[in-house]
């Protein structure tokens, strides 16, 4: 049985972990052992050595990200740490689990992280729909403040850190870290052009680190057990564990903490219980809705950043959406495009104008009014929207991935819709 540090306080039926329960299981020991006792650079080295990579989707090495924060100068003003808890990727529900059932783990991770980057203010930017998580996080912050894990001069040291929960007003794009910062500042949630990166000019123009909830939850364990231990948890090139999820027509949709690099087959068959009876696997989106379909024998691929990349997709958030053989792929893609077009911030042309057009064409094909020429437009629009530098942020290039891969893998399905002037799938509502 492998170690599951992130979910060690979480089990089905178990009540959420409060401070007493968290403390009793070694909680905040890392804070007590580190703050004021270990040099922040020392903590940074551990994180760098651990090879922890961001769990929000991009997989950027966390220690490297932190190392770009300039060294603090006296009296220069606030520096910020922001937990990205705006979990809105369709099919993704891993951070919710961590926040609802073990909120102190996130708080401890944020204390240690802010200590490392010398941040004195923290925000948990959380989507409005996570009512339970919002309440539990706020309660947990109060508990931590009462114990002086948060607030001024934490545990008698010179280090102060104030943490606030900010409930988002909505919009998927707020999960993009710079759009999140704009939103947090009370501005339109348009992403910012990078460079400058938030490490240099982030929240209110100050040095800022934005990390995914799951990433931050790893920190206390890495600090406690060390980089080597953490490296040993992963089964491939990557380090640590990962919350994997599966949704779609599987027997047991859910979310599991597994060694990073666990194969898709194991996730699908051992944990999700395999496909529902009468359904075959047709393809899957490995890392949430904004990743490319995998179809050709994906089952033995390890779910790590490099392997999935080489297979032509991205591990993303690690939460798979399963496409079965009785669900119309065109309908599924149209549905996703509807979501992404609606969630465009409206800033840059390819995303704002390009996605709704694609969505319109897909709706037409699905409804049986498509024409062969539509395929050319879809191809062209996929090219136009698809490259990362073509757009202002990663929203549209990610959004178009299910389409561009779908055009490749499900070409006959598209053509069948167009030639038969109807959707060949029946009862396959997505």
């Amino acid at each position: 049985m492998s170690e599951t540090p992130l979910t060690r306080n979480i089990a089905p039926g178990k009540p959420p972990t409060d401070l007493a329960a968290y403390d009793a299981n070694g909680g905040y020991q890392a804070v007590r052992d580190t703050i004021g006792k270990v040099d922040p650079d020392g903590v940074l080295d551990i994180i760098k050595d651990s090879n922890l990579r961001g769990r929000g989707g991009a997989g950027y090495p966390t220690g490297m990200k932190w190392s770009f924060v300039p060294k603090p100068r006296p009296d220069e003003g606030h520096r910020y740490l922001v937990a990205n808890a705006d979990e809105m990727e369709p099919g993704t529900f891993k951070d919710r689990l961590l926040m609802e059932f073990d909120p102190h783990q996130l708080i401890e991770g944020m204390i240690l992280s802010s200590y490392t980057i010398s941040a004195d203010r923290g925000y948990i930017f959380i989507r409005d729909e996570y009512h339970t998580a919002i309440k539990r996080l706020n309660d947990a912050i109060k508990e931590a403040e009462n114990k002086n894990y948060l607030g001024d001069r934490i545990l008698g040291t010179d280090f102060s850190f104030h943490l606030h929960v900010h409930v988002s007003a909505g919009r998927y794009i707020c999960g993009e870290e710079t759009a999140l910062l704009n939103s947090l500042e009370g501005k339109r949630a348009n992403p910012r052009a990078k460079p400058p990166f938030p490490q240099v000019s982030g929240l209110w123009g100050r040095p800022t680190i934005v990390n995914n909830v799951e990433t931050l939850c790893n920190i206390p364990h890495i600090v406690t057990h060390g980089a080597d231990w953490y490296q040993s948890l992963g089964s491939g090139n990557d380090a640590g564990t990962k919350l994997y999820g599966a949704s779609g027509r599987v027997k047991k949709p859910g979310c599991w903490e597994l060694p990073i690099g666990t194969s898709i087959r194991e996730i699908l068959e051992n944990h999700a219980g395999g496909m529902l009876d009468g359904y075959e696997l047709k393809g899957l989106l490995p890392g949430g809705a904004s990743t490319d379909f995998l179809v050709a024998e994906p089952l033995d691929l390890p779910m790590d950043y490099e392997s999935i990349m080489q297979a032509g997709s991205r591990m993303g958030t690690g939460t798979m959406i399963i496409l079965d053989d009785k669900t119309c792929p065109v309908g599924m893609i149209a549905n996703l495009m509807k979501f992404f077009a609606r969630e465009s911030c409206g800033f840059c042309t390819p995303c704002r104008e390009g996605l709704p057009w694609v969505k319109q064409i897909l709706d037409g094909i699905e409804a049986g009014t498509g024409r062969l020429g539509d395929m050319d437009i879809l191809e062209r629009q996929s090219q136009f929207i698809g490259a990362i530098s073509n757009t202002h942020c990663a929203h549209a290039p990610g959004a178009i991935e299910p389409l561009s891969s779908g055009l490749k893998y499900f070409h006959e399905d598209f053509i069948a819709h167009i030639e038969n002037k109807t959707c060949p799938y029946t009862g396959g509502a997505t």
């Binding site: 052009a193 123009g205 704002r352 530098s389």
Partner: protein, 894 residues
């Protein structure tokens, strides 16, 4: 300077600019929408995509937005690469999905940046068959129309309106493919520079309503390079007409003056030319006190008879008339019988301004103002008196942001990033004015002082900075410290305070600052478009002094004496046998004259003006006036029996007044030619000229001949080769909008190839001594300027006049109690035999027994009214907020 390679061609480019800027400066066309030379880059439209290669060997490259790409030495790019061209084509295709293609009925058509960029990007066939997004449009006031369906979401409008000019009431609303650019609700756009939206918008979302009401395509407009008459700053404009009617005013780029932007008074204030008060013909007053319309010859003969019978003939010039007209009048009546048409206070203030301009003190241009990193405004209502300067001051407060960006290696053109980094950090701006000021919102501190105390503060600052005192107040110490700590401190003052003391204090302060920091500057705003110019011709005696010499005949040039003399107007002219008025709008002075001659406005006559910074600029006639209407100098010459061209008048002027000799360099004279031809006022595409009279006769009449300038009333000639002062419109092949201006600049945002128009007259620096502290007598009545209403001429423009405040008096509670009124009540006084009622605004920042009143048409005769003249109006009904008249109409087209 970095060298880059673009499509195989090596280019030396300016350090620190972005690639788009560098490419346009090098004459390479790249389509763009969201980038603007004054507003930098944000990377929203993705239109300016090019390919960047890793090195010479790289053949794939990657798409980059040229506006977001720094130029670095040896960087390799391609504009022409097929994938870049395909991408740019796709951007247009996608932008066009929801664009209504209503070019035939769109006011932007023919000068539309979207049209130009569409053609440039090469996109032709639209394959979109869906519905187009539609939006409701809003009423945005009398100036600007709103047609949201045309929007391509480039975000320029909100960036200009909010970020650049400091407006609050225009925003981007909603998201995805339904972003709406407008106000939260219908209403008049509040910002004083809103009119620039018309030019900032790359398509027809924001259009000029004053043009729409009698719309003409750009190619059918006859235009001329003109100089704004609205205030003393001399912004460069293109004024355009058709059928003898002014249709619109557009910005005419000048590197050192207005750059790319005008204020709304300048843009929408030329309508006075067609005012119902316009004097179309000569008139002789009959026995009933009415005017008989007579021919110009008859009127001239009549005046000559009056003059020959007169004992003493004097002339009163005008700060709103050209140098040429003022000089002709001075020649006509003789130097000793001329005054420049100002009051004593105005003369003293403009004397000080000229002293400063010719001194060693640094007097920056509007563009240079933007470079100062600490600004003190001493008593000047910048936004309402010299509006375009306020826009420059707003940019000056961003120097700290630029510095922060520089320290963080963020390029200055990376607009959003610079703003994120700087947030609310601004360079210091200290606003010291009698009442609340529009610039307070970007000021580091604001002080409310009455004029006397502002002067005191200025003198105290001068002493403190010179180190002559050890007992300054904390305020003085703090301001002095701010100014001394700055790299480039600037003091702004001006004549709106009506206090020569404040100007003197500002000068003393600037002299003290200059001793400590050679980069210190001073900007003094003059009063009217040619105040500095006429004061340079002659600043010897005031109107009152001249009238006290008992003249029998007074020739008044383009000047309403009732404004200058106020309550003394009637008594001052009562002993004058014959008042001769030369003007273009009916006013109290023309109504009191024996004979009135119809003068041309700026739109019909060439004339030279000198602005606040001492820049002589020539404004060209836009169209030929009707027969009887003539330039002021021609009418005066006719009285004298002279016949001179404006060139000849200027030539004599430059000989007789050496300080003004430089005006000959302001623009080429009438004999200037390119390849033997004059320069056209009409576009080469003008379809109207040969057709406009075709219903009468297919034979086209001969075009009027312009004997006054090197411009012609025709489409023949080479506009592109015209020097800046003679370019009647801006157009370049493929660039039909005003954005073609970069084709004429030495580099983007730089001076024109061949030099900018106009000529700075003050080029030597004479030593100047600090003024000895004086204390003038202050009235209990403090005038307050308003961008709409305080300028005599623009206030007569139809649309602008609807935004003029109603008469009000700002008083404090004690004063209000003494007069038995409160907020919202009415007060009245008697002006020139009429009653004028005011709404009471209670403002505790006003001292006891002090009355702040607006300078608006109704209050022009207030000069001489005292605090005891006000009494309560018992039956007062306040119909609207006196400060923000709203003209919400249901008719969007009007």
């Amino acid at each position: 300077m970095p060298t880059i390679k673009v499509d195989g061609q090596e280019l030396e480019v300016k350090e620190g600019v972005n690639l788009l800027d560098a490419l346009l400066s090098a004459g390479i066309d790249v389509p763009y929408f969201c980038w603007h030379p004054s507003m930098g880059s944000i990377g929203a439209c993705r239109q300016c995509a090019v390919i960047q290669y890793a090195d010479e060997e790289d053949t794939r490259g990657r798409i980059v937005m040229s506006c977001m790409t720094p130029v670095t030495d040896n960087a390799v790019f391609s504009v022409d690469a097929e994938n870049a061209a395909t991408f740019r084509d796709s951007v247009i295709e996608n932008l066009m999905l929801n664009h209504p293609h209503d070019c035939p009925v769109c006011e932007e058509g023919g000068e539309c940046h979207l049209q130009d960029m569409t053609v440039m990007a090469g996109h032709r066939n639209r394959q979109y068959e869906g519905k187009k997004t539609t939006y409701p449009n809003q009423y945005l006031g009398p100036f600007i129309g709103h047609e949201m369906n045309r929007c391509i979401s480039c975000y320029r409008c909100v960036r200009y309106y909010r970020d650049y000019s400091g407006g609050h009431d225009l925003s981007a609303f909603a998201s995805r493919s339904r972003v709406f650019f407008g106000r939260a609700a219908d209403g008049v756009l509040e910002n004083e520079f809103a009119g620039n939206l018309v030019e900032v918008c790359p398509t027809g979302v924001f259009t000029d309503k004053t043009l729409s009401k009698h719309y003409t395509r750009k190619w059918d407009l006859q235009s001329a390079p003109t100089v704004c008459q609205g205030c003393s700053l001399g912004c460069n404009t293109y004024t355009s007409e058709r059928y003898g009617e002014i249709r619109r005013v557009h910005n005419r780029y000048h590197q050192d003056v207005n750059g790319y932007f005008l204020c709304d008074r300048g843009r929408f204030g030329a309508g006075f030319v067609a005012s119902s008060k316009r004097i179309p013909q000569s008139g002789i007053r009959n026995d009933q006190g009415l005017y008989d319309a007579v021919s110009l010859d008859t009127a001239i003969t009549k005046i000559q008879a009056i003059i020959s019978e007169g004992t003493k003939v004097v002339g009163i010039g005008s700060a709103r008339a050209s140098l040429e007209s003022n000089f002709a009048l001075r020649q006509f009546v003789g130097q000793e019988n001329f005054c420049n048409g100002m009051t004593e206070i105005d003369q003293e203030m403009h004397g000080i301004i000229i002293d400063v301009l010719q001194s060693k003190l640094t007097t920056p241009s509007l563009t240079e103002v933007e470079e100062y990193d600490a600004v003190l405004i001493l008593g000047e209502d910048v936004t309402n008196h010299a509006p375009r300067l306020a826009l420059s001051v707003r940019q000056a407060t961003r120097n700290l942001a630029s510095e922060m960006a520089g320290n963080t290696q963020i390029p200055q053109w990376h607009d959003a990033a610079v703003r994120v980094l700087a947030q609310n950090h601004r360079s210091p701006l200290i606003v010291v004015t009698p009442t609340e000021d529009r610039l307070d919102e970007v000021a580091s501190s604001s002080m409310r002082l009455m004029p006397r105390d502002i002067a005191e503060l200025g003198y105290a600052l001068a002493e403190e900075i010179a180190g002559n005192t050890t007992s300054s107040t904390p305020d003085v110490e703090a301001i002095a410290r701010t100014l001394l700590e700055a790299k480039k401190p600037l003091v702004i003052s001006g004549s709106s305070s009506q206090s020569p003391d404040i100007l003197k204090a500002a000068v003393n302060l600037s002299l003290a600052l200059k001793d400590r920091n050679d980069r210190a500057g001073i900007f003094l705003c003059a009063n009217e478009c040619n105040s500095v110019g006429v004061a340079m011709i002659d600043n010897e005696r005031s109107i009152s002094e001249l009238l006290s010499t008992s003249p029998s005949v007074v020739v008044v040039l383009e000047n309403d004496l009732s404004i200058r003399l106020g309550q003394q107007f009637s008594s001052s002219i009562s002993s004058v046998n014959n008042l001769i008025a030369i003007d273009h709008l009916d006013n109290s002075t023309t109504s009191a004259s024996s004979v009135v001659l119809p003068a041309a406005t700026f739109a019909e006559a060439e004339g030279t003006l000198v602005n606040s910074e001492g820049r002589a600029q020539r404004s060209m006639a836009v169209y030929k006036a009707q027969d009887e209407i003539k330039a002021g100098y021609h009418l005066i010459d006719a009285l004298a029996g002279n016949e001179r061209s404006s060139t000849e008048v200027r030539s004599e002027l430059s000989e007789q007044i050496p300080a003004l000799a430089g005006i000959l360099k302001a623009a080429p004279e009438s004999d200037f030619r390119f390849e033997g031809a004059k320069f056209p006022r009409m576009t080469h595409r003008s379809s109207g000229r040969t057709a406009m009279r075709a219903d009468i006769s297919v034979h086209e009449p001969k075009q009027p001949v312009d004997e006054e300038s090197a411009l012609s009333f025709s489409m023949e000639g080479n506009q592109q080769q015209a020097p800046a002062s003679l370019r009647a419109y801006t157009w370049s092949p493929g660039w039909n909008s005003n954005q073609s201006v970069h084709k004429f600049q030495s580099e983007v945002g730089g001076e024109y190839v061949g030099g900018d128009s106009g000529y700075l007259l003050f080029r030597e620096s004479v030593d100047i001594e600090p003024f000895s502290k004086s204390t003038q007598a202050y009235s209990a009545l403090i005038p307050r300027y308003h961008i709409f209403g305080s300028d005599e001429l623009s206030a007569e423009s139809e649309e602008l006049s609807t935004l003029i405040p109603r008469p009000y008096l700002r008083i404090n509670n004690t004063t209000a109690k003494n007069l038995k009124v409160e907020q919202g009540d009415g007060l009245m006084c008697t002006i020139n035999n009429g009653n004028l009622q005011f709404a009471v605004i209670v403002d505790e920042a006003i001292p006891d027994n002090t009355f702040v009143y607006p300078i608006i048409p109704e209050t022009r005769g207030m000069n001489g009214i005292s605090s005891t003249d006000f009494s309560r109006v018992d039956d007062w009904v306040q119909d609207m907020d006196p400060l923000s008249p709203k003209t919400i109409t249901t008719d969007r087209s009007s």
